[in-house]
């Protein structure tokens, strides 16, 4: 898509601002993921559990992202839905070593997908199977199966394994994500249908 891509970048999209919502259970590594994208001098050295949410800004391929780093603790999870309406993409971070809570992740994902502000919208969702470095981490394929991602037919989605501490796998994910939000931003340009195929391009 080289030429189109370049044109898109040239014409006005240079200042495209995209709001993304970063969700996932507590301790899944959301803050660590966002910390990786921040400019070198903004990076925080110590990451503590988020209370409520934080707003982080970063840039990727000339797209400016405003990320809402939501807290994943049980008592703050009901905050997520208030920001569904206003976002153009969702990054869903999963701790792939937390096998015990895979059922909880699935439940939260179901709630998210059934929410009126999300259902029926072609919101791109990036799943990060984080903490892939951990000994008992599940592969991204297993996570996708465990969460039943193949059910998502009306949204472009992509899953990739990542290590938020070293940044491994994050580039791949965010590149896909940037492409998707760009396409959504272009009228008449339907996003590619969901599934890992979308990322294979």
């Amino acid at each position: 898509m080289g030429l189109l891509d370049k044109l898109v970048t040239l014409f006005g999209l240079r200042k495209q601002e995209v709001k993304v919502l970063v969700v996932g259970l507590n301790n899944s590594g959301k803050t660590t993921v966002l910390n990786h994208f921040k400019a070198e001098d903004d990076k925080s050295t110590e990451i503590v559990p988020t209370v409520g949410f934080n707003i982080e800004k970063f840039k990727n391929q000339n797209v400016g992202f405003t990320a809402l780093d939501m807290s994943g603790q049980g008592r703050y999870r009901d905050l997520w839905e208030f920001y569904y309406k206003d976002c153009q993409g969702i990054i869903f971070v999963v701790d792939s070593s937390d096998r015990l809570r895979l059922a909880v992740v699935r439940h939260e994902l179901d709630l998210l997908l059934q929410h009126p502000d999300v259902a029926g919208r072609a919101l791109p969702i990036l799943f990060l199977a984080n903490k892939m470095d951990q000994r008992d981490a599940l592969s991204s394929v297993k996570i996708a199966a465990g969460l039943g991602l193949d059910r998502i037919l009306d949204k472009p989605w992509h899953i990739c394994a990542s290590n938020a501490v070293t940044g491994e796998g994050l580039e791949e994910g965010v590149t896909w994500f940037t492409q998707q939000v760009r396409q959504v931003g272009q009228p008449g340009n339907r996003p590619s249908r969901g599934g890992p195929l979308a990322a294979a391009k």
């Binding site: 008592r75 070593s97 809570r101 439940h107 709630l111």
Partner: protein, 598 residues
């Protein structure tokens, strides 16, 4: 992952997080604890696997769904609990494992300390006997006979471990046992029967706690968490009687330094209370059966206890029965389920057969089905999850369920209130409102005019009876009732009109409701306005009616009025040679469907 069949009565409030049917962990609730072992917020499941009961006894640590570590235990444990023993940072809890007469303390899952229960006094005569047999002053046979006499005198539980062991042996093995053991000093040591913890001075989650230990010698010991000295020694005895009760289940609440309550459910079925400063317990109540498991409510110190007679009972902190419910099966285990977001604490009871019931007070709010009876049940923080329910079944499977974030228990009654025993219901104090002025006036008036009120009432009552009798006679005279009990023809009639119109089908069924006699010579006659309806069989001959059977008779009836109005049709059951109908009924014909007429 296993998905249990959907429960129709209750909403699914739990997620099946983990099922391991091959865990092969055989344990009880008292031997399971959840602890933040590494002070990293990742709570581990520490469980003593009783193995076969004598071999393969292990202390296992689960990190999430995987087995993290295993430590062999020397003896079968009676209790496993986690507690903070010091103020050191990072805040790592210690694990206490009670088995036999010792309590083993593990820190960082490494053996740290062993506390032995103090040895007890030995009967001087018994000591003497062992001395004599060592010096070969008496024969083995005589020795055993004398020991047996002593046992009858002081009781088996008062004897030394050696004597106890000896007296349970076969006569063939006694000699060698005596020979082996007479050289060692005689010792009498008690064993731990149950264990719990009690916060020392602060109520915080990670505050230092004391161990509370119940012993076979009918004592409750409160141990200092750092020095392991005995802070409190409470005898489980009654003021009047000399019988001692062995604690089977212990529960404690409060703070050791301020005020605390320790409740012991004993093997003899007594529920006993100890408080700060007491050296003896007080019997709260004698339970109707032996205890299975118990919990104390953190709010009002009420005691919820499952008993062996298939009941769940709740006692106030003073020992008064609050309520009692019959369980559908015998209780195996029980654990509190605190729900801070609904400010309630439920009690989960596992029943024989695999059913789990959750109660809010005496109200059943949820049921969970497990594939097997759950012998070990714990609710709390596991891994990163705050609301995990951990179940070990009798066949050694491990099941973990997680309460949904959106789960909301219906705590305000509704259809699923469990039945209440009448005896218990009568003990509940009713909230009787204060007597109002109006109430007093009314009472005065009633007292002054009682005769007149009675007369008025009587007159109205008679009036009512007369009216009823008149209506009854009238109905009988006009035979205008579908059941005739009078005379020789006890009959029941029912009529049905089928169809939308203008053509209807009328089905009349007749039933002979006499016990044995047949009815003969009846006919059904329809009486209707011939401008409104036409009928193909206005008279139906009824054959002989056998008692009990219902006979349907059908006829078609057509509405012929142009206005599509509806009218009444009278059905009369008549008998040959009798001018009065046997019975009669009025059928209100339905309005016919106008569309059907065109």
């Amino acid at each position: 992952m296993m998905s249990s069949p959907r429960n129709l009565e209750y909403e699914q409030l739990w997620l099946n997080a983990h099922t391991d049917t091959r865990a092969a962990v055989y344990t009880f609730s008292s031997c399971i604890t959840l602890a933040d072992l590494n002070a990293d917020g990742d709570f581990k499941l520490v469980v003593a696997d009783l193995g076969t009961g004598s071999t393969n006894v292990k202390l296992k640590v689960y990190k999430g769904t995987s087995l993290h570590s295993e430590t062999a235990l020397l003896d079968v444990p009676t209790g496993v609990t986690s507690f903070y023993m010091d103020l050191n940072e990072p805040r790592m809890p210690a694990i206490a494992v009670a088995s036999g007469s010792n309590i083993y303390i593990y820190k960082n899952m490494r053996p740290y300390f062993k506390f032995s229960l103090p040895s007890m006094d030995i009967n001087p005569l018994e000591k003497d006997l062992w001395m004599q047999v060592r010096d070969e002053q008496i024969e083995h046979g005589v020795f055993i006979e004398l020991l047996n006499n002593l046992r009858a005198e002081i009781g088996f539980s008062q004897m030394s471990t050696q004597s106890q062991h000896l007296l349970t042996l076969d006569s063939s093995n006694t000699s060698s046992f005596v020979q082996q053991n007479c050289k060692f000093p005689v010792k009498r040591q008690t064993v731990v029967t149950c264990m719990t913890t009690l916060k020392k001075a602060l109520a915080e989650e990670t505050a230092v706690s004391c161990l509370v230990v119940g012993t076979e010698s009918s004592e409750i010991l409160v141990l200092d968490p750092e020095a392991f000295t005995i802070l409190e020694k409470i005898k489980l005895s009654d003021e009047d009687s000399t019988t001692l009760a062995v604690p089977a289940v212990l529960s404690a609440c409060g703070l050791h330094a301020v005020e605390f309550r320790i409740v012991a459910a004993c093997r003899d079925g007594s529920l006993r209370l100890a408080r700060r400063g007491w050296t003896e317990t007080k019997t709260l109540v004698q339970l109707p059966a032996q205890p299975v498991a118990m919990t104390i409510s953190p709010d009002n110190a009420s005691i919820t206890i499952a008993l062996m007679n298939q009941t769940l009972q709740c006692y106030s902190k003073k020992g008064k029965l609050q309520w009692m419910i019959n369980l559908p099966a015998a209780a195996c285990a029980l654990c509190p389920v605190p729900l801070p977001h609904q400010s309630a604490t439920l009690v989960a009871v596992s029943l024989n057969g695999g059913l789990l019931q959750l109660y809010n007070g005496r109200q059943l709010v949820d049921v969970i089905k497990a594939p097997q009876s759950v012998s070990g049940l714990v609710f709390g923080r596991f891994g990163q999850e705050e609301n995990a329910l951990i179940m070990f079944t009798v066949d050694g499977s491990l099941l973990v369920k997680i309460l949904k974030r959106t789960a909301h228990f219906n705590l305000n009654g509704g259809g699923n209130t469990a039945s209440v025993a009448p005896g218990a219901a009568q003990q509940i104090k009713l909230q009787i409102p204060k007597k109002t002025r109006l109430f007093l006036d009314q009472t005065m008036r009633e007292r002054d005019n009682c005769v007149m009120m009675h007369r008025t009432f009587q007159r109205d009552l008679f009036q009512l009876r007369v009216d009823v009798a008149r209506a009854c006679v009238k109905a009988l005279q006009s035979c205008n009732n579908p059941v005739s009990l009078e005379g020789a023809e006890p009959l029941k009639l029912s009529a049905q009109v089928l169809g939308l119109g203008p053509l209807f089908k009328m089905v009349i069924s007749l039933q002979n409701i006499s016990a044995s006699s047949m009815i003969q010579g009846l006919g059904i006659l329809f009486h209707f306005d011939d401008k409104m309806y036409s009928m193909d069989k206005p008279f139906i001959n009824v054959p002989l009616l056998v008692p009990g059977l219902e006979y349907p008779f059908e006829t078609m009836i057509r509405n012929i009025s142009e206005l599509a109005l509806s009218d009444q049709v009278r059905v009369l059951v008549v008998k040959d040679g009798q001018s009065q109908p046997v019975l009669a009924a009025i059928i209100n014909m339905p309005v016919c469907d106008l569309l059907g007429m065109v």
